[in-house]
Symmetry: C2
Subunit: 377 residues, 2 copies
């Protein structure tokens, strides 16, 4: 049992909403235009017709009703289907640093900490804004933190893996108070022309403060009393976006917009392979700490899609979950990768009383699974 | 004082050499062709003439005589100036995983470990091959390791930061034996059309095994008896390569090949700002552990360029260094980012006798500085 705690959390909710209705309208208009332009090839069987998307399908498949985005302009433009993201000057604040800092300020306030109390900043995002300089270092400077900073990623589990990595540093004395930020600027990495995935992700940023119980003066503090991380390789959730694309033979402009440069998912296989891993992961963890699920008041799960979330909750609880057993934010935020389980924790932890326990559990691409047993102090 | 050790190291030296002579010839041919095509614009002052590069300039500025590359085809082709990197199928092994695994096998052998002894894999590269699934998880599976894996980066310091992060995990009990790989597949991220930077980087991969002294059975083992990491933000070493470029307004194919999509460096400012930070970093560390530089047999420094390396060595030693005081591999490998200091350690550690100490020190973009005091057991 460690005496390291999460003493504060923060959330940046982006300024713009894209509803399913808007997204479906844009996709269907795009599909109609595509089908008209390609009617000859479609009729001769050389190209596939694009079928319409629908709000009903999206909500049933995912539980998502809307998503937030940092920049809405361009996403619903059927000639673009991509947010219009102006290039920022190198001496201006990067967009994911800006998102992170907004979430970090709330987390610092909640933890009753000043930026100068922080001596480790971990930036964990599914897709990082740039390779170097590490965005974590930019955030460290902009806030006025000391110590050191680095970027890490293991996709949707970066939230729990980031917290656990900070716990390691604090337990070994390398750091005393850590800020972990999970800025998920997903919208530029979504192919809005792809019916299977155009609705899945939203933009958001979360932040957590992790420190020893002895140094903490926050009022809503959770001890991290168990940690378990595991990974198993799979290509079923993948992107090939990266600097090697540019070096491919016979490169064309269009290559940068092919599906594998965005998000690829073999959903059924993920469902089949990942769900048993998650359930046994958490059960093994409970066994290890001699706990039973009845002693766990809440599951703050990765917000993948409603069916995966319900499957995990039902399997672990052995019954249908009430909303507060495993709160879902998918309807409002959509899938927000590494930030999803942290949003659920941030929004649904204030009703805990001292001694109550919950499990913060992330899962996703990698495959990666991370779970933390959290106990309200 | 920790009882965690580096029990093995490995190095993958890529199969192809590019000499300065070859590189300069290709650059000069490219410049001549560019100047001929653009002669009118150059004469009217609308474009700058491209000056020739030279082997003498490169060697004086950097100490580099050659570099290794994974794929040579395309680099010297003046119509391409970019390695020709075939796209690998998703179910094939990724190129940086392949590089990492070759280095890892040597490190495992040296440490007398089997892949199944490893329960943490950290992939640390300046530029990662893709965002997800994390390449570390692919390496974990391909080798047959257990536990968990993730990718991290803080540019040229990822080697020492990666080792330190593994030490944290081992000290806190999250892992027992870690593999840290630093695959630097730099050549596709170099603008071979840029006279200022075309010669700087080479491809390489290194690997380290980190575990507790109690579990280790290797023969050439170094205790990690001191660690110090720090970061300070700077844009003086930067790239804007990333997924946001594709979302910029008025995007053209050419945009993907502009200088900021490769490597940008304001060398003089880096020299002026970073060198004092490095020197005081190491001096403070020695003070903290009550050591003087006379007790340090060797400096395994980041291989930035010969002038930076000599400045740091001279400043710390208070005299001109002998080769084995601060071994340089720049002449053979060029700058290899996070792998540079690890190559120096890998190649120049076998002559140490029990009780002798050295400092493994990385520095670079971020700015980031990491140093480890290593003592031969």
């Amino acid at each position: 049992m460690s005496n390291v705690v999460i003493s504060g959390t923060g959330l940046l909710t982006p300024p713009h909403v894209v509803t399913n209705k808007e997204l479906v309208q844009a996709y269907n208009d795009y599909a109609d235009a595509y089908n008209a332009v390609n009617s000859e090839a479609i009729n001769s069987g050389k190209k596939d017709i694009l079928n319409h998307s629908s709000c009903k399908f999206i909500e049933k498949a995912s539980g998502i009703k809307q998503r937030y985005v940092m920049i809405k302009e361009g996403i619903l433009d059927i000639d673009r289907m991509m947010p219009l993201v102006p290039r920022r000057p190198d001496d201006g604040l990067s967009i994911t640093a800006e998102m992170s800092i907004a979430a970090a300020r709330e987390a610092l306030k909640q933890a009753n900490k000043l930026p100068e109390d922080i001596d480790l900043v971990i930036y964990g995002a599914s897709t990082s804004e740039r390779p170097w300089p590490a965005v974590a270092v930019e955030i460290q400077q902009e806030l006025g933190c000391g110590g050191y900073a680095f970027d890490m990623t293991v996709a949707c589990s970066t939230g729990t893996f980031g917290i656990s990595t900070a716990v390691d540093a604090i337990l070994s004395g390398t750091a005393t108070c850590a800020l972990i930020v999970n800025p998920e600027y997903a919208s530029p990495q979504i192919n809005y022309r792809d019916r299977d995935s155009h609705f899945i992700f939203g933009d958001v940023a979360t932040a957590c403060i992790v420190e020893k119980e002895q140094t903490c003066s926050g009022k809503n503090v959770f001890q991290i009393s168990g940690r378990k991380l595991e990974t198993h390789f799979s290509n079923n959730i993948r992107t090939n976006n990266g600097y090697l694309t540019r070096a491919e033979p016979d490169l064309t402009f269009e290559r940068f917009f092919e599906q594998d440069q965005f998000f690829i998912q073999h959903g059924r296989q993920v469902f089949k392979e990942l769900l048993p891993l998650i359930c046994s992961h958490v059960k093994n963890q409970l066994n290890k700490y001699d706990l039973n699920i009845g002693q766990i008041r809440r599951l703050w799960l990765h917000q993948a899609n409603i069916n995966m979330n319900m499957f995990v909750a039902r399997n672990l609880l052995g019954r249908d979950p009430e909303f507060l057993d495993a709160p879902v934010v998918l309807n409002e935020y959509a899938n927000t990768a590494s930030a999803g389980s942290i949003i659920a924790f941030h929004k649904y932890k204030d009703d805990f009383i001292s001694g109550e326990k919950g499990i913060l559990c992330s899962f996703g691409a990698g495959y990666s699974i991370g779970s933390l047993i959290l106990e309200k102090l």
